[in-house]
């Protein structure tokens, strides 16, 4: 029954997407109200159909209806409820279903929010999302159908891939990543819509600013949650390995970040029109490429679900999107003339252009490293891999350059400036950065990259604090309120700008945490007998016993260790190994004890299966790692603020005066364009 409902719903969505693709584009050109309405209702219809399909799948999963092919593949009666519910995205077909549902959801939301506005762009955007939908719903209806019927109906299934049912973060990481990936289809659709409409002013950028910031934030959180998941599950004590699939999620993040900055240059200065179109098209292509890498099985990875025909279909779709976009840009090249030009070498726009250059180089570096093995194998058949040293060697200097620019951009004005103003804006940040450098040296830090990271971080944080200070000061003068209220007011009235600075703060924290955890981690592996302890830095780790526990879906073996810090007992820690019936290899659950300073990370490597008399344990001290997650939360907070509706000033007659005063105080109102 659910098979039929699901398949019918997917087919309905596919037909809806075909209709919206045609009607949307025709409505865009003809501008007939009836067609514009039809495209909108078609978009709602697709979302309705996909919601039915996802609901049918969830029902099948939760009721263990093994007559549904996907449930027979990933379901089992023993899997806990939570992991059963989220096994929607634990394998290929379900994850494409989920992808399609999110796409339909974004489409419906775009249509609804703009039902009375942007009528020149929205029908086109709906049409483009319809075209993207055709591909994904088409996959679901054919090569990646999750609703196939299984007969005879099995009594039980194998359950999801053990790695994907071993940690609650599986409920966060994939949805966030998908919300980010798929959401970037919205600005892409508007960009293509602007090309089709020939309306290449800044309207499509203004219309999609929130639709870019929100997916960007989802993607950021998704990437970090992936790192966190890997840290909590894979047992090697790291969070990022430059695995192709991690890279696949990182690539569109890089170009989307570049885009968030470069659109400001277009909004403010009318420059970079073609560049912005290319960036968002490239970003969308990278999300498709990422989905291809992770879902085609071309690479070896936890994520590669491997299915034969999907890969070529994805490649074909990527090629079509790329060629069609290029043709459109060429067709509209006469309207892509950008009137603005660079006034001075030192200005906000030039720092953004440099930022974009570095982001693109960063993207290229990661893309090359990720695909190099495939290229080499295709060219001369050699089997090679590119290890983390390559990525670290190239990306760390680029990252440092970006960190530095993060301090320069916000403090520079648009257009041009004077040497005096540059000195005024930068003497304090430079002084703070230098002090941090000296303190680092005095504390005995001798590694160049961490030292530079700390110094630049000090520099950037000072410019951010200065920006807030100036903003609060200007607001106090205008509104005559206390500092605290002024702070609240600049956050709500100019949430885009100050939300952006909060995002920057989170990113600085993450970069510093990366530098510290990457440089000062230390570890030790030892076999301990009962009652025996090992020392690691200030920690003492005593092995007490090995125990086993039967659970419905798995068998768990754990070791109990008592942990001491400088002789003081901190309590027990229990790293475990989980044996699932559908995997020969046990899945580790490391034990992590976090403090703001560092994590103590224990993995059970091996144990005496007969008597439990000894166990081999790997202990790692990972400094600053919790700050990665804290930084991620700050990024999310800042992004939420940046997309929140801005509170309009209730007394508009004050605005000109406010602007005048503010310009004097480094013009927060004037430059109200950040993120």
């Amino acid at each position: 029954m659910l098979n039929i409902i699901g398949s019918a719903a997917v087919t309905a969505a596919l037909l809806g997407a075909l209709a919206v693709a045609v009607v949307g584009v025709v409505a865009g050109f003809s501008r007939r109200p009836a067609l514009i309405r039809a495209a909108r209702y078609g978009t709602y219809f697709i979302f309705g159909a996909m919601t039915v399909a996802v609901a049918a799948m969830e029902t099948a999963l939760l009721t263990h209806d093994f007559s549904v092919e996907y449930v027979a593949k990933v379901g089992s009666r023993e899997t806990p409820l939570y992991y059963t519910a989220i096994s929607l995205w634990s394998s290929l077909e379900g994850s494409i279903l989920f992808w399609g549902w999110i796409l339909a959801g974004y489409g419906a939301l775009v249509a609804f929010v703009n039902r009375r506005s942007l009528s020149r762009l929205v029908p086109f955007a709906e049409g483009v999302m319809g075209i993207v939908g055709i591909f994904f719903f088409g996959l679901l209806a054919t090569a990646a159908s999750p609703f196939g019927e299984v007969f005879p109906v099995p009594a039980n299934g194998p359950g999801p891939n053990p790695l994907l049912q071993n940690h609650p973060l599986m409920g966060l990481h994939p949805p966030m990543l998908y919300l980010g990936y798929v959401g970037l289809a919205v600005p892409f659709s508007f960009a293509i819509g602007a090309l089709l409409a020939g309306k290449l002013d800044e309207e499509w950028i203004r219309a999609t600013r929130r639709w870019t910031v929100a997916p960007w934030a989802f993607l950021s959180v998704g990437i970090l949650a992936g790192g966190w998941w890997s840290y909590e599950v894979l047992g090697w004590g790291g969070y990022w390995a430059w695995d192709p699939v991690e890279n696949a999620s990182f690539l569109p993040w890089l170009t989307a970040t570049a885009f968030l900055h470069s659109v400001m240059v277009q909004e403010r200065r009318g420059m970079l029109k073609t560049w912005n179109l290319s960036l968002i098209i490239g970003t969308f292509l990278l999300t498709l490429f990422g989905t291809f890498l992770t879902r085609s099985g071309i690479l070896d990875s936890v994520h590669a679900f491997t299915e034969g025909v999907i890969g070529p279909l994805f490649l074909a779709f990527i090629a079509i999107v790329m060629v069609a976009s290029l043709v459109l840009i060429a067709w509209r090249s006469d309207r892509l003339y950008a009137p603005g030009s660079l006034d001075a070498v030192v200005s906000k726009e030039s720092s953004f252009i440099l930022n974009n250059l570095v982001f693109v180089a960063f993207t290229f570096t990661v893309l090359l490293g990720t695909t190099f093995p495939l290229i080499v194998e295709a060219v001369n058949g050699n089997r090679v891999s590119v290890g983390p040293p390559y990525f670290n060697m190239v990306t760390v200097p680029l990252g440092l350059l970006l960190l530095f620019l993060m301090g320069v951009g916000p403090a520079l004005p648009w257009r041009r400036t004077t040497a005096e103003r540059i000195r005024g804006a930068f003497w304090l940040p430079t002084a703070v950065g230098s002090i941090v450098l000296v303190v680092g040296l005095l504390l005995g830090v001798r590694r160049v990259y961490p030292l530079l990271t700390f110094a630049f971080a000090g520099f950037v944080m000072t410019t951010i604090v200065e920006e807030f200070r100036k903003g609060v000061q200007a607001r106090r003068r205008i509104a005559g309120v206390s500092s605290v209220r002024a702070f609240g007011q600049i956050l709500t009235r100019n949430s885009r700008r100050y939300g952006g600075y909060i995002v920057h703060t989170g990113i600085v924290i993450i970069i510093v945490a990366l530098a510290i955890s990457g440089s000062w981690r230390f570890e030790r592996e030892a076999t301990l007998r009962s009652g025996e302890a090992m020392l690691l830095g200030a920690y003492g780790i005593r092995f007490d016993e090995v125990w086993g526990r039967e659970e419905p879906q798995r068998f768990v073996v754990g070791a109990t260790l008592t942990v001491f810090h400088e002789g003081e007992e901190l309590g027990p820690m229990q790293p475990r190994m989980n044996y699932y019936p559908n995997s020969e290899q046990p899945i580790a659950t490391p034990a992590v004890r976090s403090s703001l300073k560092e994590d103590l990370y224990l993995t059970l490597m091996s144990f005496d299966a007969e008597e439990g008399a000894h166990a081999t344990v790997r202990a790692i001290v990972n400094p600053a790692v919790p700050w990665l997650w804290i930084g991620g939360m700050i990024v999310a907070l800042g992004a939420i603020l940046a997309v929140a509706p801005q509170r309009k000033s209730r007394r508009p007659e004050f605005v000109p005066a406010a602007a005048a005063v503010a310009t004097e105080a480094a013009s927060p109102k004037e430059e109200a364009v950040t993120v």
Partner: protein, 150 residues
């Protein structure tokens, strides 16, 4: 913007792009890791000594020895023609057993022993008998590109 300023800005950008290109090319040439089978390694031993490598093959039955106290792990990786001694430090992965396919990362040393820094076990549900005539490409496919989930 004046002409000379434009020139300098252009030169600056060229310099940055060139620096990044040097970084990328240098990074790649130093960090590309070759995948070899035991017979390929033996055939090219002189060229690849001390270079980072990935060695893929099967754990030779009866060759494994592990000292839990010192964490010293030794085994032999073989294919149909050749074998290579491997040593590593740390507990063997839980499903590490004789006859199983492994990929070891590390360096081949002058003394003919491969020093592994990382061990990866190819998990499949069936035991594969030591094979006969598989080409290096086939071994690579089976070890590095799994056909099933995970």
């Amino acid at each position: 913007m004046g002409r000379s300023k434009k020139l300098w800005a252009g030169l600056g950008i060229v310099a940055i792009v060139a620096a990044i290109a040097v970084l990328i090319v240098g990074g790649l040439s130093e960090n590309v890791v070759y995948f070899l089978t035991p017979s390929e390694l033996q055939a090219r031993a002189a060229d690849v000594v001390d270079q980072p490598l990935r060695l893929g093959g099967q754990v030779k039955p009866g060759s494994r020895s592990w000292n839990a106290e010192t964490l010293d792990l030794r085994f032999v990786v073989q294919d149909s023609l050749s074998e290579v001694q491997v040593k590593s430090t740390g507990a063997p992965p839980a499903m590490f057993k004789e006859g199983i396919g492994v990929v070891v990362e590390g360096r081949y040393r002058e003394d003919g022993v491969f020093e592994a820094t990382n061990l990866m076990v190819k998990h499949s549900n069936e035991y594969e008998p030591p094979h006969d005539e598989r080409t290096p490409q086939e071994m690579y496919e089976s070890l590095v590109k799994p056909e099933g989930t995970s």
